[in-house]
């Protein structure tokens, strides 16, 4: 049965690529209007070393930004989930901050930290992705049924023990749900900076160069590479979820 798990999504990808190829061929679109899948592989091979180099740059900066978002988001969620006062105080701020289109923030941080390209990219990946983590952790903690707390509190357990033994593990499924969203958001943050700021690095920069040269197959190849990295990171999160919150996945009867 296991092979189906790989074969089914793989077949879906192949079907999609075939339909795309067919569409471009049937419409007779030239390369500069819409690249077809068969153009992508040559484009990738031609710039293969750049793909590896830039792909790695994009990936590590996204992961570092995401890791910071996990630490900060969990901390913020803890404060908001455990204190009603802090929740009331911080929630509107957080929503407002999240509502600001991040593309408008890129020039601001580019001016504030001129030339600190790695730092700026990580900062943006972090800023765009901590929100869902903070919200889910705070909701997970504040919706803990009082009986769970009473069972341990009546034995004289400290607040920290209640948090460590019950509240934290109970929040893990929500946390990982948010982390899946945050992982893809972090990629958007990284690429925003890479594309908007001049003399950037990473796959966003490669995309930008391709656009300047009207190299449509290369642009599409970069998009696919980004999609591939997104899938890799997503499934890395899924693997972590299996390890730490596997109990939340009900086995099919």
């Amino acid at each position: 049965m296991d092979w189906k798990k790989v074969a089914v999504p793989l077949a879906a990808v192949i079907v999609l690529l075939l339909l795309w190829e067919l569409l471009v061929w049937a419409m007779g679109w030239p390369d500069y209007k819409m690249a077809s899948p068969s153009d992508l592989w040559p484009a990738f091979l031609r710039y293969q070393n750049l793909f590896w180099l830039y792909g790695w740059q994009t990936l590590w900066r996204t992961v570092v930004g995401l890791a910071l978002a996990v630490v900060f988001g969990t901390f913020l969620g803890m404060i908001m989930g455990l204190s009603k006062l802090m929740n009331d105080a911080l929630y509107p701020l957080l929503v407002g901050f999240n509502a600001i289109p991040k593309a408008t923030v890129v020039p601001v941080i580019a001016l504030m930290f001129v030339g600190q390209h790695d730092f700026n990219t990580i900062l943006m990946a972090f800023m765009i992705s901590f929100f869902p983590i903070a919200v889910s952790v705070s909701i997970g903690l504040s919706t803990l049924e009082p009986e769970y707390r009473d069972i341990l509190r009546s034995l004289g357990a400290s607040r920290f023990t209640v948090f460590w033994k019950i509240a934290l593990p109970k929040t893990l499924p929500e946390f990982f749900g948010a982390l899946k969203v945050a992982a893809t958001l972090a990629f958007i943050g990284t690429n925003l900076v890479e594309i908007i700021t001049p003399h950037g690095r990473g796959l966003g920069h490669l995309f930008q160069s391709a656009q300047t040269n009207s190299d449509f197959p290369l642009m599409f190849a970069v998009l696919l590479a980004l999609a591939f990295l997104g899938i890799v990171l997503y499934y890395a999160v899924v693997a972590l979820e299996r390890i730490f919150a596997g109990w939340a996945v009900r086995t099919a009867q």
């Binding site: 009986e147 769970y148 341990l152 509190r153 004289g156």
Partner: protein, 260 residues
């Protein structure tokens, strides 16, 4: 033996925006060691407040709660609790759920000893062979059995049962009642049970305390001097029917539907 629990003249009110909201007024309950006290009363008459006072999670405005000759001033390690919602931890197996209180109360106890104690109790309630299952793999009645084991595992002075059988179907509930009697025989404990079910209170209780409507005070105390383990048929005998009728009348008075 003296009383394990003495609740003396307890009065308590919640502070709300529209002023104090009295829930308990001059409440007196005494529970001798090893005995089972069932508390019945109209909905919302402050029964759950009572459990939190005994557990030391809250403190009364007036009056005193004595446990084992000591004034209750803070949460104690000598209380076990079970609720209508079994609140088992889904990421732990049944065995490890039952071991949880020992991790708090006796952190230095060797792991093997904790495990042996938990297994012993699980076997007593008929959950042998389910030790390594997850709570979600068990039926509602089985989860409640595990919850009872968790309340008892650290040999508490008293177990506080807040409608633990309330959400179960009638047959499962009767099974659990019998399990309670079997448990008391092998693992003697003192218990305070909050319930809405008069038959349950008469079948399980050595004394049944009827609380009045809010603010609750002790309205009526009935002694049920029948040694355990009691057969379920006991409920259908005339003396039990008579007891149920008396309790029913007292509840109606408590609800204000009938004048004493």
């Amino acid at each position: 033996m003296g009383n394990l629990i003495d609740i003396k003249g307890v009065t308590h009110a919640y502070k709300t925006k529209s002023g104090p909201f009295p829930v308990l007024r001059d409440l007196n309950i005494s529970i001798p060691e090893g005995s089972f006290c069932a508390v019945v009363g109209p909905s919302g008459c402050g029964k759950s407040t009572l459990t939190r006072l005994i557990a030391g999670l809250m403190f009364p405005d007036q009056g005193e709660v004595w446990l084992h000759g000591e004034l209750v001033k803070s949460p104690r390690k000598t209380v076990g609790m079970a609720f209508q919602n079994p609140v088992l931890l889904e990421w732990r197996t049944i065995l490890h759920n039952v071991m949880l209180p020992l991790e708090i109360v006796a952190p230095t106890m060797p792991r093997a000893q904790k495990e042996a104690r938990a297994r012993e109790l699980l076997a007593l309630v008929g959950l042998e062979g389910f030790e390594n299952k997850r709570p979600s793999e068990l039926s509602g009645g089985m989860r409640q059995r595990a919850s009872l084991c968790r309340a008892l595992v650290h040999k508490p002075d008293i177990i506080i049962l807040d409608e633990p059988f309330g959400a179960l179907d009638a047959f499962t509930r009767e099974d659990l009642w019998q399990t309670m009697h079997q448990l008391r025989e092998k693992e003697p404990f003192t218990a305070l049970l909050i319930t809405h079910d008069l038959r349950e209170s008469v079948y399980l209780g050595d004394q049944v305390v009827v609380l009045s409507g809010r603010p609750a005070t002790t309205q009526y105390v009935m002694q049920v001097d029948i040694p355990g383990p009691r057969p379920l048929e006991m409920l259908y005998r005339p003396d039990s029917i008579q007891r149920l009728a008396t309790l029913r009348r007292e509840i109606q008075i408590a609800q204000g539907r009938e004048v004493a």
